[in-house]
Every structure is written in C-alpha cells, then in structure tokens.
C-alpha cells in the first residue's frame, strides 16, 4: 500500500502502546500470583513462590467447585453439540416449509441478552421445583447456548458438499450411514469449534449459577471465585491472582485450540458469508 513511512511508524508505535495497555492488568495477575508478598500495584516480586497456587489447589471447596464447573460446562457443551448436529442436518439438507421462519427465530435468539430472561427463568425454576438443581441449570445453559450452536453448526454443515453424500447414497449407503461415515468426519472441526465456544461461554458464566443455585456445595468455580474476591480479594492478592490464573487457564488453552480450527477467519461465526 502506498502509505507514507511516517504513517507506518505512527501505527507501529500506537499499536505497541495499545497492546501494552491491554496486557498490563493481566500481567499484574501473573506476577502477583507468584509473589510471596503481592500488593495492589504491579511490582517486581519480593520472592518467587508457588505457595499461592498450592493453597488454592489444596482447598477442597475450591477444587470441588472446579470439578462442578467442569461437569456443568462439559455436560452442557457435549449435549449442545449433539442436539445442534441433529438440528443442523435437516436445516442444511432438507427443504422443510418452516425452515426459513425457524432459522430466523434462531438468529433472533442468538443475539438476545440472556440477562433479560433470567428473572422469568428463575420463576420457572420455582414453579417446577428446579431451584438449586444442577441438572436443571445445565439444561438452561444448554437452551441458552443452542441458538448460536445451531447457527454455527448449520453453516459448517453447509460447507460439506452434498455431492459427497449423494455419491455414498448411490453406492447404496443409507442416510444414517452417509451421515455417520461421510458428514460426521468432515464435521469434526465444526463440532470442536462449537464445543469449545459453548464450554468457554458457560465456564466463564457467573450470572446464571449465581442466580439459579443456592447451596454452597453446588457452586461452580465462576461463583466461588467471586465469593473468594468478596471475602479475601482485597487482602490476599497473591491467592486471588493464583485462583484467577487457574480459573482462566482452561479458557485460554481451549481458545488456542479452537483458533486452529477457525482457519477461515472471523466473520460472525461464519454468518455473514452465508
């Protein structure tokens, strides 16, 4: 591009400053988590230690909340992928008369703020005696993740050429066999992407379990970390930082893995390219 050298230099300088501003709060977290004497401000650690991490992973209540978070988000995302694949297949392959309105409804639901339905969902839970029930919370999380998952999955499914399936049918394969042997293998990247998106979304969701659960021993990590902040956040900076790093790590790793599948780039989950 015919852009002047000065402009390029300015761009580089501005971008480096922006990047530094973006990482600064996170650097505090990483540094404080290994500091024996962490304070509110970023500083060079007095002495490096693993003590903060050890105290978090040795706390049975915290470890349990990580386990609950894992089961809650893990169970949720696996079920979401299964339901979404089933839903995406006919939406991509068949021409049902109600396909259009259904897809528009799904798209409409993807962008609706979940916050707006939580009070009525809470009432529904009271009505059905679902309050403080982990399975019911998991199903609400499934429901809230489904619209986006179906939408993404349908777009992935559209990119698997139907000709491949048709040639399998010509060779005598049934629809089920075609789905299992031809479509499913090609859908693996898409399924992983949906799985990871769903998992990271609910792993980081504090609001839903905070409202719908009440027993302390059922709270996932997103809630226990919030409580930890409330109780010790402004005293035990090192431990809070270590807790935060441990809690953030799975999401970072999963995002890194997902990126490799999302080679096509980022365009609203493949939506804009139809």
């Amino acid at each position: 591009m015919n852009v002047s050298k000065t402009e390029k230099t300015i761009h580089h300088i501005v971008l480096v400053i922006v990047a530094l501003l973006f990482v600064l709060p996170l650097i505090w977290m990483l540094v404080a988590s290994v500091d024996t004497n962490a304070i509110q401000s970023l500083k060079i650690p007095d002495e490096l230690t693993m003590e903060n991490y050890l105290s978090i992973i040795q706390d049975p209540a915290i470890v349990r909340s990580f386990g609950i978070g894992l089961l809650l988000s893990g169970g949720q995302s696996i079920i979401v992928v299964i339901i979404a694949v089933l839903a995406a297949y006919p939406l991509s392959r068949y021409r049902a008369s109600y396909k259009k309105p259904f897809l528009y409804t799904i798209l409409f639901l993807t962008s609706l703020p979940i916050t707006a339905v939580i009070v009525p969902v809470f009432q529904l839970f009271l009505l059905l005696r679902f309050e403080d029930n982990l399975i019911a919370v998991m199903f609400f999380l499934i429901g809230s993740a489904l619209p986006y998952a179906i939408w993404m999955m349908k777009n992935f499914m559209d990119s698997v050429p139907i000709e491949l399936e048709e040639s399998a049918w010509v060779d005598g394969a049934s629809v089920a066999t075609g789905l299992r042997k031809v479509v499913a293998p090609l859908m693996v990247p898409g399924m992983f992407t949906v799985l990871i998106f769903t998992y990271t979304g609910s792993w980081g969701n504090f609001f839903v379990p905070f409202i719908l659960l009440s027993s302390q021993d059922k709270m996932p990590a997103s809630v226990t970390i919030f409580q930890f902040f409330g109780n010790y956040g402004l005293i035990q900076y090192g431990r809070l930082a270590a807790f935060s790093v441990l809690y953030t790590m799975p999401v970072v790793i999963l995002y890194y893995i997902a990126q490799r599948y999302m080679s096509a780039g980022f365009s609203f989950g493949g939506a804009t390219k139809g």
């Binding site: 591009m1 015919n2 971008l15 922006v18 990047a19 530094l20 973006f22 990482v23 600064l24 709060p25 505090w28 977290m29 509110q40 401000s41 339901i83 089933l86 839903a87 297949y89 006919p90 939406l91 068949y94 049902a96 008369s97 109600y98 396909k99 259009k100 528009y104 962008s111 609706l112 703020p113 979940i114 916050t115 707006a116 339905v117 009070v119 009525p120 969902v121 809470f122 009432q123 529904l124 199903f139 489904l146 619209p147 179906i150 792993w203 504090f206 609001f207 409202i211 919030f226 902040f229 900076y237 935060s244 809690y247 953030t248 999401v251 995002y255 365009s267 609203f268 804009t272 139809g274």
Partner: protein
Amino acid sequence: MASYAADKKHKRLSDNTKTSIFLSPAFVVLAIFFLVPMVLTIVIAFTNLALTGSQAQQLQFVGFDNFVRMFNDNQLYSSIILTLIFVFFSAILGQCLMGFIIAFMMKGKNSTFRRIIGIAVIAAWVTPEVVVGFAWTIFLGDSGTVNNVLTFLGQYLPFLPQEPVAWLFQYPMVSVVVANIWRGTAFSMMAFQTALDDIPTEVEEAAIMDGASRWKSVWNITIPMVKGTIVTNLLLVTLQTLGVFTLIYTMTGGGPSGSTMTLPVYMYQQAFVSFQLGYGTAISLVLLLIGAIFSLFYIKFLKVKI
C-alpha cells in the same frame, strides 16, 4: 434440480416430517428454557409476585400496576439513561471505534507483529468476565497500578493527579466503561480485520494515485466498503453490552448511590435483593423489548442467505 422440482410436493411433505424429527430435541429444550420464560415474562409482569412477605402467599393479577409504578420510578429512568450511556460509550464509541482503528492500523503490517498485538487484545476478551471485574477493581484501586503510574508521572507533569484517585468512587461510570472497552474491543477488532483484509489494496492505491488525500481515501473508499460489517458489528456489540451484568456487579455493584445501576443491575436488585419478582420481571420486559428491537434490526442488516 429438475427432478427435484418434479416431485417437490411429495418431497416437501416428507422433508417436513424428517426435519421435525431431527429438530425435536432442540425444539423441546428451546421451548422450555426460552419460549416459556418469555411468555412468563409477559404474564408475570402483570402480577404482584414477590418472594417474601404477605404478597408471597397470594399471587394476584395487578393489571398495569407494575407499569404504572415504572412510570413513577425515578431510579428506572436513571437506569435507562445509565444503560444508554454505558452502551454508547463502551460499545459504540469504545469497542467499535477502537476495534476499527486497531484493525485499520494493523492492515498491511508484518504478520508476526499483527499476531503479537492481536494476542494482547484477544487475551482480554478471552478472560472470564468475573476475572475482568477483579483485575480492573485492583488495577484502579487506591494503591493500584494506575494510581501508582499516574502519581509517579505527576511529579513531572503538573496536569496529572498528584494524589491517588479513588476511581471506582469518583468516576464509577468511567471505570466500568473503560473496563468494558478493554474486555470487548477484540471482538470488533477481529470483525473489522476480516472485513478490511478483504478490500483489495489496489482500490485504495488507485484513489491515492488519483490525488485523493489519505483521509479522503479512508472516508470515501475504505469505510463505505466495510459499511455492512460496521452496521452488523454495531448492532451485535450493542446487544452484548445491553445485558452486561457481571462486570458492573463485581466492580461497583451498581453504586455508589446508583450511579452505575444499569437496567440489568437494577433488575437484579429489584428481583433478588428486594424480592419483588413481579416488578423485576417488568424491568426485564423493558430490557427484552430493547434487545428484541436491536435484534430485529441486526437480522435485517445481516442480509444472510437462509
């Protein structure tokens, strides 16, 4: 396609049945956890439902009482205005504009450089919302990093604060807006990167060759070419920001004295702190309606092929 059209009518019937079978699990879950609550929202907004107290015993339809109450509720008005301020500054002006500028500056740069800058911005986006809340509460704390840096620089630069500033108390809205910009910019940045990379460099070069100034070429060529992305991104980011609860709740809890009490936080207060579920639902109906309007615009502008 010809044979398809021939037995279209026969095929459509069976397509409907097959589709319904495949869709049934999704439909059941969506109906129970999305459609029923939405219908409930409308019903309950007309009741006096409360979690505790005498009202908890007998549920009554109170007609438009909740809505009359809303019309006379000053906190609700200020919550709507605070929500608009929060959305405008953190989503529209903050995330979208900043995301665009970063993506624009990154265009045509060395890929390793782009990658490193990208990771820094995306790291903030990947971090769970609760953690973002703590990280910023601590970052902006009385003896936090921001105050330390500013007071250090303040020794040399007289226009900077000489004393630590209690950001979350003195500038609560600014604080949550900045934290939300920090958290969300990556989304817009990635959207604009994809869009800007699709513009052939020749188009911009041609404009400059024709003697257009740099500004004019950006304004007349680049921006119109990513107009679609700008609109969809604006709507999507607005929708995401309308519902932000966790970030504000962890940083300020809606305070001090209601100065960051956006609609989601106010709804939470009424429904789960004051136990007025009926009134809380009426507020969430407002939120739902605002969301629905933006969502319809979003679908209209997205121009998807369905």
